[in-house]
Subunit: 386 residues, 2 copies
């Protein structure tokens, strides 16, 4: 098995939404193709993936550093003893001459290609990515995954009923748990939004709030004090994602579940969260995202480290509500996954016809991650391959 070509296309995200710190209408994502020398139906079998959502396309790193390393490497350096593509070995090839530390853009550039390798493996054996992932890590894939609707972003000139109508539309789709943003407007407005959401969702246990790392310690503690009586599902990323001690102090004061990790892109960073962040087994949520973190190989090492530290994998809920993470959650038997039913197109959300029932979604049986079956993505994949 040889990789004969790697392609990349930067795709701008649609929509006009923002969280407490960024405006997503200026964000883009790298869609990549890993073209093999295996021919089926007259065409090379090709892995397709992207670098999740939120940290920009990585066209430069992919073209300048990663593609030359992959194409210059002998195929034995990225295949296993059976001659099959090894995503773990491919990651090593891509990390050649990279220094330790500095896990940022590079991590998502490598992730896009590493995940395309999983898609390629699954297509070669003609099965869903979740099956290949589960087999690789000696697990049995879940046939259903718990999903929650991540929305409640800030919209320009947002009316009073917009958020209520948004949650109602998610309920109509079959969702029963929701996440909304906090920290982007005044505390008063955020509380009014939360009250609206609670009314629609029925209970605080169905609502999480996400501050996207917006607050300093005082701000994080103040908001925590206000949130505490609502008994929410979780309070997410109160402060800077690398401020482990802030996380620990928020946990001490807030007591109810917190969630963090979507901006930790390596095993060493997650190790620091486990050592210094005060996270509690059985209570707090880990949201690392393979698509931002060197891919599934590194992500699975993070989960193994969590377990070695006494945490259960059912508290892992990856950031990034898309098909890649749906398969990863099912393949690794994680707690669940976010979904963006209305935002982050063409990448967010799942497949048409994949019904959500009481917050659970059944795994699709398309080979690989099934990105070609997503109507919003299909024209982009066609452009990538043309």
């Amino acid at each position: 098995m040889k990789i004969i070509e790697v392609r990349e296309l930067s795709i701008r995200m649609s929509g006009n939404i923002s969280n407490a710190v960024v405006d997503f209408s200026r964000h883009d994502v790298s869609l990549v193709a890993l073209v093999s020398d295996i021919i089926r139906n007259g065409r090379p079998v090709t892995g397709i993936a992207f670098n999740s959502i939120g940290r920009f396309a990585q066209s430069g790193i992919i073209r300048d550093r990663l593609i030359p390393r992959v194409l210059n490497a002998p195929s034995e350096s990225y295949t296993d003893m059976d001659g099959d593509l090894s995503p773990a070995a491919l990651r090593q090839v891509m990390m050649r001459d990279e220094k330790p530390g500095g896990h940022g853009d590079r991590a998502s550039a490598i992730a896009a290609i590493e995940l395309a390798a999983w898609d390629l493996r699954a297509k070669i054996s003609d099965e869903p990515a979740a099956s290949v992932i589960a087999r690789n890590f000696a697990r049995v894939p879940s046939d259903k995954v718990s999903v929650y609707a991540a929305g409640g972003y800030y919209y320009p000139n947002e009316g009073a009923n917009r958020l209520r109508d948004e949650l109602k539309s998610y309920q109509d789709l079959g969702f029963d748990k929701f996440k909304i943003k906090v920290g982007g407007v005044s505390i008063q407005e955020d509380i009014a939004r939360l009250e609206t959401a609670l009314k629609q969702a029925g209970s605080g246990r169905n609502i999480s709030v996400d501050a996207n790392g917006r607050f300093d310690l005082d701000g994080a503690l103040s908001l925590g004090e206000i949130l505490k009586p609502y008994d929410l599902r979780w309070y997410e990323e109160a402060g800077d994602p690398l401020d482990y001690d802030l996380n620990r102090q928020v946990i001490d004061a807030y007591e109810r579940p917190v969630a963090t990790g979507e901006n930790l892109f390596s095993v060493p960073d997650v190790r620091n969260l486990l050592r210094h962040g005060g996270m509690r087994p059985g209570i707090d949520i880990f949201q690392m995202d393979a698509g931002l973190s060197y891919g599934l190989t590194e992500y699975a090492e993070m989960i193994a480290l969590m377990e070695a530290s006494g945490f259960d994998r059912n508290l892992a809920y990856p950031h990034g509500g898309h098909l890649l993470n749906l398969h990863i959650v099912a393949g690794l038997n994680l707690g669940g996954c976010e979904a963006y039913p209305a935002v982050f197109q063409p990448f967010g959300g799942y497949l048409p016809g994949l019904a959500i029932e009481q917050g659970m979604i059944r795994l699709p049986d398309t080979p690989g991650f099934g990105l070609e079956a997503k109507p919003e993505l299909r024209p982009h994949i066609e452009k990538l391959m043309s």
Copy 2:
């Protein structure tokens, strides 16, 4: 003052050297130009800088994210109340829509342009960068800087006398302190190299060793035990740069000075080192590098945080032996700076005619960082501007 153009050129480093983890012959660096609308002698005054050494050129991030943000921003967003260019404000412009965390390639991409802003400011006021930097931070620039020769890399087919001859050549240039690599070959070979270096340098206090993050805890402790009797100047980056607890344990066991920080690229990362790394005021060395860390604005915040935590700035010795850091060390009155007299061309080293006497180098009086006066860099700057 308006920025009318930003240019970037990726430049491959010459040489054929490696440390314990990377081969530098495949590394490149982004040389950037920040072109202002101020005309002198018929030409626009232009700031020139680069993103230090060791984390690759950042052509993609600079072109795709940073240049559009800078050129689309109104000039009031990056100038101060007097209408002068503000590197701190320019950094904010470049960070627009960037999420927290993930301080890697982005940090060095932004640094190149932020440092070019300091060069531009200094050229506008026709003075060395060190003077502008010192004035900005309410200090008096040092007229001399302590430098040590960083070398002792691994060369292919290295003979027994190569390292001795290398250190001898540094002594002939006026250096009296040296750094060599460890961890890239067997412990036995590393110790033989260290003995060679000690013999040439006269004392362990003149030699530091650098493992470039190579070791796990056991390896780092074992090497520390072997190194301890040599009473070295410092033992650098024994383990993963983000493994603060490893650093703390190495310090506890090794007792003598350690150095780290060159792979920490943000204030939150440095805060974690200060909180969890066991670093001791008056003993251990901090090596963060503005050129890899969003530029001088963020770097000065790191130094302020060190001081607020009880550490003296004379224990800051930035990674990266080049003119940018020479001016930064003088302008901020730091402890000293590494120098690469023989490696990392065209970026490493200082200016011809800048004599080193007993390990001290006098600041040049060329305006800005003076990169145009460095013969190895001049043709690249001409190409960048052509």
